[in-house]
């Protein structure tokens, strides 16, 4: 390494150093795997990181076309890594289509690594380019490494007798080798991983290692121009313990299972396959934990109804879906509100309306979650802010659902479902036990008599002698639970249902303001926008702006404190990936000085976009 690049290294390792790498190719190119490996390498260096896999709704779109491009973005670095990055510092594009789809995401001066052999006439045409983008100047201002990755890989694995087709499958490892060198990492960890995964003696293991090694050596030995920044990965110190990477989907699955175990309840997740919610079902099915199972129902409605059946019988009923499926469940959710049984509904929100963009994230189901049922049918709405936060929110949901005998909806989204971040594996034995107490026999039992504090009715397990009673969707007498058409009783029951949910705000009243308690701008956000908002707030606060951030995890009921923040700030802006739903909600709650900042493109909100908008408000305010 020459002196010149050392200087660049030192400059790069500043307080908030981070870098973003995007791998893009056809679905079969192994980009998710390659990205995952780099993520792991970053993780064991103790860095903060966030990932964002982006894939098309089609399972296997035709190779080489723009709509078949899948990508994996990983951002890692020192300090707060709350989002997976706006723009890529480094793009790996395995074919012209991958370049075309992703080139606008690369920072000026960024590094683009291309497989030159894929830039033939056929590939260029298939991607919809008029002419070769490597030759027409469209990549000017970027640093390009163009290598004949295909042939170099095939050459490297030849000795193992692999044909052209199988040989080309190792291209991703060749590329990973090159990337590891760029970050001053050796290939040892990845070699061990390959050996463990496929077996030391496996010919494919050997071929992949050869390709990895070839890519690493290529970077070291050949003419990678000297202005390519060779980044040195800094060591940082996160909390002590055992870490792993976790996606939101798996974090929710762990959270639900933990919540159920702590409540001493059996749990059944009743679900119907839908993108992007299905992984939650797959994870829970794979865990094989005593008393915790999944049931794949015939449709979304049946999934929700059977989950209610589970709770009725004294288990924890959970149903999980995404937009279209949630719409189908709404009648059943209304019944759960009416009969006052615990139920957890997870909505991994995707872009709508209708089928919309099944793999893209949106936050446009907020109003549906709060109000989307016929009749006055209030329930609790919680939203996780990051993959690891899903673990906590799922446990909160279990706690609230059983304490208050109510459905709780968790609003996750397509981004959180598949994005990952490092997770300090919790010591389960240290999480508080929360055993449910089911009703035992009592004389003259009244099924709808309520606890004076929580207003929750008692949870009676069928099978309990002497407590036989009937419940249903018809209005119930406020004490006996028998059918009642009495107008005053209906008013009373409506009030109870509303008050019970409003009371729950005491559980979540604590809100944390990041930044000063008062200032020029307060940013309010919820869900997965927490990442970009946190970063934008931190950057601007570091520059001396009076900007603060409040993240809302409990969307319904709305915290009283949140409603009363207005006097402390000059302006308030609500940032969300919908047309202003939380904004409207807060307006209806008479929160003053509100502005709305929205984006409904199916893509995560960018930090740069927020910086620009926030700065505009801050400067006008001054």
């Amino acid at each position: 390494m020459d002196g010149n690049s050392s200087k660049i290294e030192n400059k790069n390792i500043e307080k908030n150093w981070s870098t973003t790498v995007r791998f893009a190719g056809d679905s079969g190119d192994g980009m998710q795997l390659t990205g995952g490996r780099l993520t792991f390498e970053a993780a064991i260096s103790g860095m903060g990181l966030a990932t964002f896999p982006d894939y098309p709704a089609e399972i296997r779109a035709p190779a080489g076309t723009t709509f078949g491009v899948s990508s994996f973005q990983v951002r890692f670095g020192k300090g707060l890594i709350a989002s997976s990055g706006d723009h890529a510092d480094i793009l790996v594009a395995m074919n012209p289509a991958a370049l075309k789809v992703n080139i606008k995401e690369v920072l000026p001066g960024g590094l683009v690594i291309l497989d030159s052999s894929s830039f033939n006439d056929r590939g260029i045409k298939k991607a919809g380019y008029e002419e070769n983008p490597m030759e027409n100047g469209s990549l000017s201002g970027l640093q390009i490494i163009s290598a004949d990755i295909s042939n170099l890989t095939v050459e490297a694995v030849k000795e193992f007798g692999l044909g052209n087709k199988d040989g080309l499958r190792c291209r991703n490892m060749w590329t990973l080798g090159l990337i590891l060198w760029l970050f001053s990492k050796n290939i040892d960890e990845t070699v061990t991983w390959l050996e463990n995964k496929f077996g030391k003696e496996n010919i494919l293991t050997k071929a992949n290692i050869a390709a990895l090694n070839a890519g690493h050596r290529y970077a070291e030995n050949t003419e990678i121009s000297s202005d390519i920044i060779r980044k040195v990965v800094p060591k940082v110190k996160p909390a002590k313990g055992k870490w792993r990477a976790i996606t939101g989907a798996e974090s929710l699955a762990f959270g639900l299972a933990t919540g159920a175990k702590k409540a001493k309840l059996n749990m059944t997740l009743c679900s119907y396959p839908i993108t992007p919610a299905s992984p939650i079902m797959h994870y829970l099915a794979s865990y094989k934990l005593k008393g915790i199972g999944i049931y794949q129902a015939e449709d979304e409605i049946a999934a929700c109804c059977s989950a209610i059946g589970v709770s009725y019988a004294g288990g924890l009923g959970v149903t999980s879906s995404s937009g279209p499926g949630i719409s189908l469940k709404t009648e059943a959710i209304g019944l759960a509100v009416s009969v006052e049984l615990p139920l957890i509904i997870i909505n991994s929100q995707r872009a709508g309306p209708s089928t919309g963009l099944p793999t893209r994230a949106e936050q446009s189901d907020l109003m549906q979650a709060i109000y989307g049922r016929h009749g006055e049918a209030p329930l609790v709405v919680l939203a996780p802010k990051s993959p690891s936060h899903c673990f906590e929110i799922a446990q909160n949901a279990v706690y609230i659902a059983i304490k208050y005998m109510t459905p709780v909806m968790i609003l996750s989204d397509a981004y959180l479902a598949s994005a990952s971040e490092p997770w300090l594996i919790p010591d389960i034995s240290k999480i508080k036990e929360n055993p449910v107490s089911f009703a035992e026999y009592e004389e003259n039992f009244k099924p709808f008599k309520r606890d004076s504090v929580t207003l929750a009715r008692k949870w009676v397990k069928p099978g309990t002698k002497g407590m036989e009673h009937r419940i249903g969707g018809l209005e119930k007498d406020s004490s006996s639970g028998n059918i009642s058409y009495d107008p005053e009783n209906h008013q009373e029951m409506t009030n109870y249902r509303s008050k019970k949910i409003k009371n729950i705000k005491n559980e979540f009243n604590e809100i944390t303001i990041t930044g000063q308690e008062n200032g020029d701008l307060l940013v309010i956000g919820w869900g997965s926008t927490n990442g970009p908002i946190s970063e934008a707030q931190e950057q601007l606060a570091n520059k001396g702006y009076k900007i603060s951030h409040v993240h809302v995890s409990c969307l319904w009921p709305i915290s009283e404190r949140l409603k009363n923040l207005a006097p402390q700030f000059e302006s308030i802006i609500v940032v969300e990936m919908n047309d202003g739903q939380l904004f409207n909600l807060l307006k209806a709650e008479s929160v003053q000085k509100l502005q709305s900042l929205t984006q409904v493109s199916g893509k995560p909100i960018r930090v740069s976009y927020l910086l620009e908008k926030f700065q505009k408000i801050l400067k006008n305010g001054k």
């Binding site: 002590k240 870490w243 008393g291 036989e468 009937r470």
Partner: protein, 335 residues
């Protein structure tokens, strides 16, 4: 009823809740309710272990009238609620109460999948061939030509046969009864309860207000003996005055036909012996044309198959993974 009284012998009346029964006077549902209570009393069923789950419709009010656990759910979905209940507690004796609109129209999908999965429960399908609670519209079980507020020119659609549908969906127990024929209905319900798996009992139920006498052609006292065949496993398929008629198979047409033993006593050798494990015969019995043939009642089909709830609970109760170990599975790093 207090907890201590329940140890004594229970009578049918002991299975009644304190709620006033509010079906129309003369409704067939009253007779079915009595048959259900008698069946439970005959078995000395424990009220606390029994759950009635219903959808929406006149019949679906039944759970309110039982002194057991009861859940009046939403239209067509009772099978899904019942599934969740049985997955969580397979010990409970679950009875699904439904009607022809509830289970063959809005809940058709759940009905099919319940039968296919063989959840251990009973389904009592009150078939009155009409929507009663919504004031008399044609249902998917209504016969072609039915005049109703939604079909003033007469329905043009063909009716669904619940039992035929059930057999093709993979049902393991299919039976039929008539609301007022309590003597036959009680043993049928009793067998349904004993069967391990989904037991479908289609009950022809007269709606006195919107579809009165729709089953008269085979339930009227004057014709019942000639127009009904009460099946008993292992017994010859005989019916009519003095059991002088029998069902035989016409091998040329693969169909059932009637032989008159009065005219030819030797035909008795051809009369079919009911074997409720024979699905082909079960299909033929459910397909008989009401105008030409008797209506098959009693247990038409019954086979043993593993149940969903048993499979699920055995599986889930035997899981023994440690959640902490699963969290640490795969790639981890220690700091």
């Amino acid at each position: 009823m207090g907890i201590n009284e329940k140890t004594s012998q229970l009578k049918p009346a002991d299975y009644a809740s304190d709620q006033e029964v509010r079906w129309c006077p003369g409704c067939g549902d009253y007779a079915i309710l009595n048959a259900v209570k008698k069946t439970l009393a005959d078995k000395q069923a424990k009220t606390e272990k029994t759950v009635f789950v219903s959808g929406i419709g006149c019949s679906s009010r039944l759970p309110y009238y039982m002194a057991t656990y009861g859940f009046h759910t939403i239209h067509g979905r009772a099978p899904a609620f019942a599934t969740g209940i049985k997955l969580t507690n397979p010990e409970l004796d679950v009875w699904i109460i439904t009607g022809d609109g509830d289970s063959l129209s809005i809940g058709g999908n759940h009905f099919i999948h319940l039968l296919r999965r063989n959840l251990n429960c009973q389904v009592l399908l009150f078939n009155n061939e009409i929507y009663g609670l919504t004031k008399g519209q044609a249902s998917p079980a209504s016969r072609t030509g039915t005049i109703s507020p939604s079909t003033p020119e007469g329905s043009s659609e063909s009716p669904i046969s619940a039992c035929e549908l059930a057999l093709s969906a993979g049902a393991t127990f299919v039976a039929r009864g008539v609301d007022t024929a309590i003597k036959q209905l009680v043993p049928t319900l009793s067998k349904a309860q004993e069967h391990i798996g989904t037991s479908l009992v289609e009950i022809y139920q007269n709606c006195i207000v919107y579809n009165d006498d729709v089953f008269k052609s085979f339930t009227d006292k004057s014709v019942a003996i000639e127009k009904q065949i009460h099946l008993e496993n292992g017994k010859p398929m005989l019916f009519g005055e003095n059991n002088m008629k029998g069902l035989v198979i016409n091998k040329d047409y693969s169909a059932l036909e009637i032989v008159d033993l009065e005219k030819n006593a030797e035909e008795i050798s051809r009369v079919l012996i009911h074997n409720y494990k024979n699905k082909t015969i079960a299909n033929l019995l459910t397909q008989m044309d009401k105008n030409l043939m008797p209506v098959a009642l009693g247990v038409i089909y019954c086979i043993d198959k593993p149940t969903l709830d048993n499979h699920y609970s055995e599986k889930v109760n035997n899981y023994n993974n440690d959640i902490s170990k699963i969290m640490e599975k795969g790639q981890t790093w220690t700091i």
